[in-house]
Symmetry: C2
C-alpha cells in the first residue's frame, strides 16, 4: 500500500465516521435544537448520490464509505426528527 492509498483510506474513515461524535452528543444531552435538518438531508442526498456513483463505477471503497455515511447520517436525522425540541430550520 502506497502513502497516497493510506491518505485516501484515512480520509474515507474520517469523513465516514465524523458524524458519530454528533450522534453521541445528541443522545447524551437529548438536545438537537441547534442542528439543521436541512444540512443533514442535503448531506444524506450527497453521500447517497456518491453511493450510486460508486455502484456505476463498481468502485467498492466509494460504495462502502458512502453507504455507511448514508446510514450514520440518516441515524442522526432520525434522532433529530424524534426529538421534541426541534425547530424546522
Amino acid at each position: 500500500m502506497s502513502g497516497v492509498d493510506l491518505i485516501g483510506i484515512l480520509a474515507g474513515i474520517f469523513t465516514t465516521f465524523a458524524i458519530i461524535p454528533q450522534i453521541y452528543k445528541a443522545i447524551k444531552t437529548g438536545k438537537v435544537e441547534d442542528i439543521s435538518p436541512v444540512f443533514l438531508s442535503v448531506l444524506i442526498a450527497g453521500v447517497g448520490l456518491w453511493t450510486v456513483y460508486g455502484v456505476f463505477l463498481k468502485d467498492y471503497p466509494i460504495i462502502i464509505t458512502n453507504g455507511v455515511s448514508v446510514v450514520l447520517n440518516s441515524t442522526m436525522l432520525i434522532i433529530y426528527l424524534n426529538s421534541n425540541h426541534r425547530t424546522n430550520l
Copy 2:
C-alpha cells in the same frame, strides 16, 4: 458528459455545500450549543486529507470540492468557537 459524470458532479455539489444551511441556522439563531465541535474537527481533518489525496493524484474535482469543504466546515467551527453558548462535547 455521461449520466454517471452528472451523478458525480451533483454528489460533489451536495456534499460540499451541505454545511451551508447549518451555518445559516447558527448565524440566524445565534445558538450552537447542540452542535459537536468534535464532529466538525473530524470532518475538517477528513476533507483536508481528501484535498491532499487529490493533490497527489492531480485530480482537480477532488481538490476543489474538498478544498471548498475545508473552508466551509472551518467557518462553521469558527462560528461555534466564537459563540459563548458552547459546551465542550
